[in-house]
Amino acid sequence: MAEREQKKKTQTQRESEELREDVQAKNESAEKLKADLDDLLDEIDEVLEENAEEFVRNYVQKGGQ
């Protein structure tokens, strides 16, 4: 009985540890994703046409199919 409880406890402990690791991994990957997006947005700021309004206004394409 005691042994079973011990087993159960170990299992529960293991599960919660796994869960903690899982959550941690998820947080890390979410943080990494956010950092990746931040880098990407920094890069857009660098290369985006300076005068967006004028760029968009001047882009006219007639005579297409």
């Binding site: 990407l40 890069e43 290369v47 882009y59 006219v60 394409q61 005579g63 199919q65």
Partner: protein
């Protein structure tokens, strides 16, 4: 019965000049293409001063104009990879050679981007200081003007066109969930407003279900009947609905799934259990305007289905068809298994959360950029910066392209793309066209999709017809081309 899905993509590129926004698009398209031809072929002496350099100066033109539309083609070149590069209306256009499979058509579409990149570079020395030609691979100027990215698929002439229309329309209305190129806002005048982002560049511009038009009242299914091959055996399905994709996954999925569905139609696989959409044109726009993919569309038998559900039903039938038939019309058994599994994987991920595919599909990649930027700078959806990101996603200059920065996964080897800029596909008649141009270019008076016209100097012009896209391949003609020392020898060998 299903026949080989020989296919290809023709893309009208957007074009503008930095430092001269009012430049005439027809002249700058001509400069761009002539610059490429002069650079690549090492031909000098081309008159870049004139705005209409003329059709046949170097003997690389297509045959005489056959209709009003052809007359506006000012510059017209055939490349050694079998493609056609020309000015169509007011755009530079690259039509890929005939390809044997969706994967190969993807390769030659990417090679086309490379051609245009090289053309942009080559054009710099022909432009005044401070001016630069810039090319965009997209379909709209965000002011109501659209330009196409057309696919072509070879089909069996025996299949009634009405059946193609009926069985293909629901697929076409919904395939944008993986091959839309994304758009901020709307250009559809009848829009009720409140459209922040769309899956498709082109959905705004479609007004009919079926028709011949390509420049106004555009139809979901285009009826242009110009097979460029034996018209008693073949049909060329000319698809005008699609967006120009930067993502290799989007282009490949578009070509592969469409080729499979067309084979299914030819083999009668879709004859039972058809889905019919009640109002296809409205449904096309409705699906485009919903990046959550939750919106439903009504079918004629009273069901409400999402675009994903309709795609699943086509995929389920395709999988069964593959188990029975292997679908050799689209590729080897392994290739088809791979493309079906990619189609399935894409639908699964779209169902779970489309953002998972932000490095695979164009519209998702663009939405990720636009949404992130909007949040970072607290912008509203109508901020010109978001419109600028939308346009610049499609700028093909590596130093400016936002698609390139989105980290899109690839399917192709860049070495293969480099090769495809010059080398034709081995498995179609494009091989004969490309290799003859490479070796006997001086003796070719004109080229067309279905013929080459030789001028050997003495005799009258001699026309070599190529009415079957699957003849004139490497295995048919390479030996002869290699062993012929002149065009005359080649023609004798062909018995032409």
């Amino acid at each position: 019965m299903a026949i080989a899905k020989v296919c290809g993509i023709e893309t009208e590129y957007g074009i503008s000049v930095l430092g001269s926004p009012d430049a005439n698009p027809i002249s700058i398209s001509s400069v761009l293409i002539n610059a490429y031809v002069s650079e690549v072929a090492g031909r000098v002496g081309w008159d870049f001063e004139t705005e209409s350099p003329g059709n046949d100066a170097r003997g690389f033109s297509f045959e005489a104009p056959v209709n009003a539309e052809m007359e506006t083609h000012l510059v017209n070149t055939v490349l050694t990879n079998g493609a056609r590069l020309y000015v169509d209306h007011a755009h530079p256009e690259y039509s890929s050679p005939e390809c044997i499979s969706p994967k190969q058509a993807l390769l030659y579409d990417k090679a086309g981007e490379e051609v245009l990149k090289r053309a942009m570079k080559a054009s710099r020395r022909f432009m005044p200081p401070g001016q630069e030609i810039v090319v965009y691979k997209n379909n709209s100027d965000r002011k109501g003007n659209s330009y196409g990215c057309h696919e072509n698929y070879m089909m069996d002439r025996a299949v009634p066109f009405a059946k193609i229309v009926k069985q293909l329309t629901p697929f076409f209305v919904t395939r944008q969930i993986f091959c839309g190129a994304g758009k901020v806002g709307t250009e559809f005048l009848g829009s009720q407003g409140g459209v922040s982002f769309q899956l498709s560049q082109r959905a705004d511009f479609f007004e009919e279900e079926v028709g011949l038009e390509t420049t106004l009242k555009r139809p979901i299914i285009n009826t242009r009947d110009e097979p460029h091959a034996d018209a008693t055996r073949f049909r060329r399905l000319h698809v005008i609905l699609g967006d120009a994709n930067l993502s290799e996954f989007s282009t490949f999925l578009k070509l592969a799934s469409t080729a499979v569905v067309l084979s299914m139609i030819e083999d009668g696989v879709l004859d039972d259990g058809e889905i019919q959409i009640l109002s296809p044109v409205q449904a096309l726009k409705k699906v485009s305007c919903d990046p959550t993919l939750k919106v439903t569309i009504d079918t004629t038998d009273g069901r409400s289905m999402t675009a994903l559900e309709i795609q699943w039903s086509y995929l389920d039938m395709a999988k069964k068809y593959y188990e029975r038939d292997g679908i050799p019309t689209v590729g080897t058994s392994e290739e088809v298994a791979e493309l079906l599994s990619l189609w399935e994987d894409t639908l699964c991920k779209l169902e779970e959360n489309p953002m998972i595919l932000k490095q695979r599909l164009d519209w998702v990649a663009k939405l990720n950029l636009v949404q992130g930027y909007k949040e970072r700078h607290s912008l509203s959806w109508d901020d010109p910066k978001l419109a600028a990101i939308d346009l610049q996603y499609h700028d093909i200059r590596p130093e400016k392209s936002l698609a390139l920065r989105a980290g899109l996964e690839t399917l192709l080897d860049s070495k293969d793309v480099g090769m495809a800029v010059f080398e034709p596909p081995k498995e179609t008649r494009a091989y004969f066209r490309g290799k003859c141009l490479e070796k006997f270019g001086e003796s070719i008076a004109a080229a067309n999709w279905d013929s080459l016209i030789f001028d050997t100097g003495k005799d009258p012009l001699r026309r070599v017809p190529m009415m079957d896209p699957l003849k004139g391949t490497f295995s048919h003609v390479d030996g002869l081309i290699q062993s012929s020392n002149s065009a005359l020898e080649l023609l004798e060998g062909l018995g032409a």
